[in-house]
Symmetry: C2
Subunit: 405 residues, 2 copies
């Protein structure tokens, strides 16, 4: 499958974009966030059913990764850094509790089931990281990105992605049998958080004047290109610094928001997003195998039992973390629900558990079930507790759409 | 190099887009088409010098192919099919003469140098196909796309791409030692031309009403996505029908021009073009090795002699084909010059000659030199004989740019 030709990929992409659009529109018509439809399109095209989309093919993998970067960039462009910092303390608490609770619950569940300590630790870790991509997209679909609850969720999801990186680094050491020193933990944490702080500080000073200068100079007319260079450049730097690529892309959005070209960039990158972003969600959907959910297959029963317990740990752990903000006057339940989807990050953990042979295929499948259910349950739940706001402003076509629906 | 990670590709793409923009701007400032700068950026980043960009890496290869498809789509969107058909006869004559003359001259040169007949045929074939991508981009850079000369060149370049496909199919049979029947030639020709005719006929009837219906329905708000699905779908179909992918993309542009969404599509796809198109030209530049041009390396002398003769055949052959339109009152020299660049199509022929061991590395390098020189000589020559028109209309920023330059 790796030797895929350009023609084959073209055919696959046509199916991906077409089915994503159709399923997304149906989801929207049923009052659901359209991302739910795109994920289902992935399930149809992926390993579960038609087996047309293999997210491991290098070209698809890259397009999908660029898709989530562009999504996070767009979210960053719509996010006011000052407002994000204002709720920074709350986000931090939600992130920490939202990592600790599911981790402990997952560890306890697996210990209780008789798994050895290392396996239980890795299983617990799989429950920790919220998928900022799915959460942000759902909040955007619901037109709720600027609500304080959304800002807290977004900040917390970014922070717990960084915590997730640290945990992943520690797990890798653990599974390779190496000793985990506190120095390693401190170093990894410092470089992962340090990148974001350094980028935002330096970038706030340097990027706006440079971009404004370019906009006014004879290099004008290419805000989209300029934005893509910033997105990919910061994503590349983030990865090099030991942080995550999507964190770099998010930072690029936060920074470019303050430039004169922000409006042109927002419009231009949105066009790229129409092409790239659905590829990401379809690939996430394509990589989960729903056949392990079939209860009529007796060999699935043990997996389903572990999976069910992990789902419980995953949902309860994240849901309760919203209530750790006892001083917050807004919707604590919305924050908890917003943190539930695990998506691609959970899959990365599960895959790494399988690769290092810490997980057997049963536990791997159970982790996959957990990712699947939390991913698919969060959009409708969030919609139920946090109903969409009507569109305002110049988005005429979307305005018509919301009247039709 | 095939095992390139997402991070590496991000870094490469940042360099590609940045250098393409800088070199393109410099070329423009020197009064040259900006595509010349992008090709040079490729030479700097490619096998000739820094060796950072390897166009054979699957992700880069795909992005670059999608880039030339988007370019041809944009050109198709700006092309009036009726006007193109009006000059269709002239285009056809130019294409046929422009294939026959360079082929014969190349064959004679190689026979005279003592190469066997099969080798001379393949070498002649390498000279036949004009790069419609480079030609169209130069004419667009010069703001001359709607001139009758440009329409004739465009039509001829599309037709000779199709003839090139037929020749390639014949050559493949020849080099594999199989018998070439006239049935094979007729079949290949029919399927290659048939696809274009069928697509344009059926598409003219079906596509505009479907697209207009989608635009007015609740699926609205995604003209860019819809256009990309059409581009990739028709490119995929073209390849399957034995035609070229860029022909399918060009046909998509011709067809969508007549829809109500044409303006929104043009604007949206232009944003994708800013990202994808430079990748194509940088990859073309990156795949030529300018070190074979060094005359101080004695081992290059024989190659340079053959290369020089091939260049002569390539330029004279295409230049004269403009004069085959003896009834045409416009600029015959412009048409001849517009047909000169060989670009990626010539490289495909040369590569296939090398792969089938018909070419030795000397002849392969000579063919590469021919491609390189015709590619790099055409933009400034065309600019000299066909000076750019000033921009008009709402493109304010470009207007300012042309005043600055």
């Amino acid at each position: 499958m790796e030797e895929t030709t350009t023609t084959q990929i073209l055919g696959i992409l046509v199916l991906v974009l077409l089915l994503a659009k159709v399923c997304g529109s149906i989801a929207k018509r049923l009052g659901q966030p359209s991302v739910l439809g795109e994920l289902l399109a992935g399930v149809i095209l992926g390993v579960s059913w038609l087996n047309i989309v293999d997210p491991h093919v290098s070209v698809l993998h890259f397009l999908s990764e660029l898709g989530v970067m562009i999504l996070l960039f767009e979210i960053g462009l719509e996010t006011d850094l000052k407002q994000l910092l204002k709720v920074g303390g709350s986000s931090f608490v939600v992130a920490c509790v939202g990592v600790a609770l599911p981790f402990m619950l997952g560890y306890l569940v697996c210990s209780w089931l008789g798994y050895p300590s290392l396996v239980s630790i890795v299983a617990g870790a799989t429950l920790t990281a919220t998928s900022v991509g799915i959460t942000a997209r759902v909040l955007s679909d619901l037109n709720r990105l600027s609500a304080p609850e959304s800002q807290i969720i977004l900040g917390a999801a970014v922070i717990d992605d960084i915590i997730g990186l640290v945990i992943l680094a520690v797990i890798k050491k653990l599974t390779s049998g190496e000793e985990v020193t506190s120095l390693l933990v401190v170093q990894t944490t410092a470089s992962a958080f340090g990148f974001l702080l350094l980028t935002l500080t330096l970038g706030s000073l340097l990027l706006p004047p440079v971009v404004n200068w370019i906009e006014r100079s004879r290099f004008a007319g290419t805000p989209t290109l300029m934005a893509m260079i910033c997105v990919m450049g910061l994503a590349w730097a983030a990865d090099g610094a030991g942080s995550a690529m999507i964190i770099g892309a998010f930072a690029a959005g936060l920074l470019l928001r303050k430039t004169e070209a922000a409006h042109a960039i927002e419009h231009g990158v949105a066009q790229l997003g129409q092409f790239f972003v659905p590829i990401f969600f379809v690939c996430v959907g394509a990589s989960v195998d729903v056949s392990v959910l079939n209860p009529f297959n007796p060999s699935n029963l043990a997996t389903l039992r572990i999976g069910g317990l992990l789902i419980l740990a995953a949902i309860v752990g994240k849901f309760l973390c919203g209530y750790s903000l006892f001083w917050f006057k807004g919707r604590k339940d919305v924050i908890g629900i917003g943190m539930i989807p695990r998506g691609e990050v959970g899959l990365i953990f599960a895959q790494s558990g399988l690769d290092t042979q810490v997980f057997d295929t049963g536990l791997f499948s159970a982790a996959t079930i957990m990712v699947m259910v939390t991913t698919f349950v969060a959009p409708p739940l969030l919609r139920l507790r946090f109903p969409p706001l009507p569109d305002e402003g110049p988005h005429e076509q979307q305005g018509i759409e919301s009247l039709v629906n």
